[in-house]
């Protein structure tokens, strides 16, 4: 019973989980499921989003999130009597982050407002290169800091056991996390540069892991491979690959083979269906076999891509495609799967 909450996790020393993925692979879903999985290990988790889409609010079925940490869910306790952690969420936008940053570090009460009046806030967050990313990652860093001060937190002073960041897509992730190089040539000295350096130290440390979400299709797998290469080149720690939306495995390899080669006897299928009271018109049997043939083709392509994913040489995790879509209950299911497989 003295099983440590860390037992079974592949990433025991990591407390900043960055989740990226190509558009359409479900990276936000995976980030949310990972946050729940970590919470079910008794940890208090902060789930951050930085893309202004309010995806967290939609997934957890809560009102749109403000720039303030909000309690949104509780993890499932691992066993009777065990305490589950809580998931908090934070929607980070660059404008609020900049104003907060100015207030916190420079005590720029009036000057901060002057900046706003002269359009500097707007300028800095939409036009000035790199600044936006520095602000977003800087806020994540603040949240990750142990023993941090209140900030915008509604639970001032509390520290989280883990942070999950629903990050920008794979194509932009290295640039986003590599705040140093984005600022290079712009701010060579000064507090912004110092801030970027501190943030980079965390991102490059063993406390951070960047997980990549993919589906078993050519383009996303290729992009995942490219993304891993870029992350490594930037000295950022690559975590695991989460393979999402995996097709059901109702048929085994030999059955798939039989279907591919057309050696399944329709009359046998028809007879079996009749046994359980399904009126087996020939069209129905044909339709079932046609569906299976299509499925077999896609499974073969999936297997090919799975081999490529395995060759990436990082731990992989697989999540099933849920036919009816992912609702809150579905998120908990996915969280349990991730925990079982050791991502959390």
């Amino acid at each position: 019973m003295s099983r440590s909450p860390q037992a079974g996790s592949d990433w025991p020393g990591v407390d900043l989980h960055v989740v990226t993925g190509k558009g359409g692979t479900g990276k936000s879903t995976v980030a949310a499921a990972l946050a729940l999985a970590l919470a079910s290990r008794g940890r208090n988790v902060l789930l951050c989003e930085v893309e202004g889409r309010q995806g967290i609010a939609q997934m957890f079925d809560v009102p749109p999130l403000p720039y303030e940490e909000r309690r949104i869910a509780t993890g499932l306790p691992a066993a009777q009597g065990e305490r589950a952690g809580t998931v908090f969420a934070l929607h980070i936008d660059a404008e609020s982050a900049l104003l907060e940053y100015l207030a916190m570090y420079y005590k720029l009460g009036r000057a901060g407002r002057a900046l706003d009046r002269f359009g500097v806030i707007d300028f800095a967050t939409t036009i000035a290169p790199g600044v936006r990313d520095v602000l977003l990652t800087g806020k994540v860093y603040e949240a990750a800091k142990p023993g941090r001060k209140g900030g915008t937190s509604s639970k001032a002073g509390a520290a989280y056991d883990a942070i999950v960041l629903d990050a920008p897509p794979t194509g932009r992730i290295s640039q986003f996390l590599n705040v140093n190089s984005e600022l290079a040539g712009l701010a060579k000295v000064g507090p912004i540069k110092a801030q970027a350096d501190t943030v980079m130290t965390l991102f490059r440390s063993k406390r951070t892991a960047v997980h990549l979400v993919t589906v078993l299709e050519e383009m996303p797998v290729q992009e995942t491979a490219d993304g891993i290469g870029e992350l490594r080149q930037a000295g950022l720690p690559v975590g695991g690959v989460v393979v999402n939306l995996v097709r059901p495995r109702d048929l085994d390899d030999s059955q798939l083979d039989a279907i591919r080669t057309g050696s399944v006897d329709p009359t046998t299928i028809g007879a079996t269906l009749a046994k359980v009271g399904v009126e087996a018109e020939p069209e129905l049997v044909d339709a079932l076999l046609a569906e299976a043939a299509d499925h077999a083709e896609r499974r073969a392509l999936e297997d090919g891509q799975r081999t490529l994913v395995a060759e990436l040489g990082v731990p992989t995790y697989e999540l099933p495609r849920i036919a009816s879509g992912v609702d809150l209950a579905g998120l908990y299911e996915l969280a349990a799967t991730l925990k079982e497989q050791g991502l959390a």
Partner: protein
């Protein structure tokens, strides 16, 4: 007993009005169509759709140029081009009398070209070497949108002039939000007109009235945060760039008007997923607010509706009653059938939701392909599916 299975679950059962079908060939064949803009959120197959439409239009006799933003290597190869660049290149293997050129937006060279064409050589050099310009032209999220608009304007002007093309198909950048693309010209203009820029342009010893306490406080604050060097770089950049501002603004607003013109058609691309359709709905609303000509919605990656009158519930119930070892094949077939029906039902529910809220939007539904497109014939297949010619 499931002697008479209930009626099929599928699009027809999902209720709601069936959306008007999108007449893709009508759109492509109409000589009045000069620009087709494909927009939508990331990962919905925007680039593939753009390329397929361009090829189909070319093979139906149009002289087409397709501007892609960030094509996957495979897709570039499918157009017979190892690596697309900033210059339109002819795509080999196009059938019929039309022609197809393809290019990929290179935002830095597009930006550089604009600078070089607008400023005298000395000034241009000064701008190109400014660290602020380098950062702005390579990494600023948003430059891609501005430059896509710039390139579209250039292509359109050169098409008018030379008659080399009569249709431009544009893929849009994978923006954080689809709106960035539309906002680009407006944002550029407001940036250039912004008070901050104006202030940076004010010489250090300008008129006393501008040197308000607020301004002093602001520059002090900025220097404190960024370090003195940055503000200076920024000032140098803005001063050097000042002469180009007028041209930028004029072209940005010309492109915006071009998008509103009758010759332009917007296609919103989506996948049957809640996020993608929500983004599509948002975009459709935004286009109508801005009086941009919307041609329709393309829903990619749709699951094919299965044949056979057996409901998901009946199939699962039957699978439960089968012997798990002896009849595992048949049970597997039934479960697959149920799984597919559920996906189809979910997708049609999502599509019906969109159609109910946007009843006038014509729609094309493209079934999910088993594998990625690798060659022209793959693009041709997608084009035919778009036009429901298969």
């Amino acid at each position: 007993m499931t002697k008479n299975p209930p009626p099929r679950v599928g699009p027809l059962a999902a209720g709601g009005p069936a959306p008007r079908p999108l007449d893709v060939d009508g759109l492509l064949d109409d000589p009045a169509t000069e620009i087709i803009v494909c927009c939508g959120s990331g990962g919905v197959g925007k680039t593939t759709t753009s390329a397929s439409l361009a090829l189909r239009a070319a093979e139906r006799g149009r002289k087409v140029v397709v501007l892609t933003i960030d094509p996957a290597r495979r897709l570039a190869q499918s157009m017979g081009i190892e690596s697309l660049d900033n210059t339109p290149r002819p795509v080999p293997g196009v059938q019929g009398n039309g022609s197809l050129d393809a290019m990929m937006l290179d935002m830095k060279s597009t930006f550089d070209e604009v600078v070089l064409s607008q400023a005298n050589p000395e000034k241009a050099q000064q701008i190109l070497e400014n660290p602020f310009y380098i950062a702005l032209s390579t990494s600023f999220a948003g430059t891609q949108e501005y430059m896509a608009m710039e390139k579209l304007g250039q292509l359109h002007a050169s098409a008018r002039e030379s008659g080399q093309w009569d249709l431009i198909v544009v893929d849009t950048p994978p923006s954080r939000s689809a709106l960035d693309f539309l906002d680009a010209p407006e944002r550029l203009s407001s940036f250039l007109d912004g008070r901050f820029i104006r202030l940076l342009l004010t010489p250090a010893r300008g008129p006393a009235r501008l040197m308000s306490a607020g301004f002093g406080m602001m520059t002090n604050a900025l220097t404190k945060i960024l370090g003195a060097g940055v503000l200076q770089d920024m000032q140098t950049f803005v001063a050097a760039f000042d002469t180009l501002f007028g041209g930028f603004r004029a072209r940005a607003s010309a492109t915006y008007q071009l998008l509103q013109a009758d010759g332009t058609a917007f296609l919103v691309i989506a996948a049957p997923e809640p996020d993608a359709l929500r983004e599509a709905a948002y975009f459709v609303d935004r286009l109508s607010d801005e009086q941009m000509p919307l041609a329709g919605l393309v829903v990619n990656r749709a699951s094919a509706s299965p044949e056979g009158r057996l409901s998901a519930e009946a199939a699962l119930a039957a699978a439960e009653r089968l012997d798990p070892t002896e009849d595992s094949l048949t049970a597997g077939l039934l479960r697959l059938h149920a799984d597919r029906l559920r996906i189809v039902a979910r997708e049609s529910r999502l599509r019906a939701g969109f159609a109910t809220a946007h009843p006038t939007v014509a729609t094309a539904v493209v079934p999910a392909l088993a594998s990625d497109v690798h060659d022209l014939s793959g693009l041709r297949t997608v084009g035919a599916l778009l036009a429901r010619a298969e």
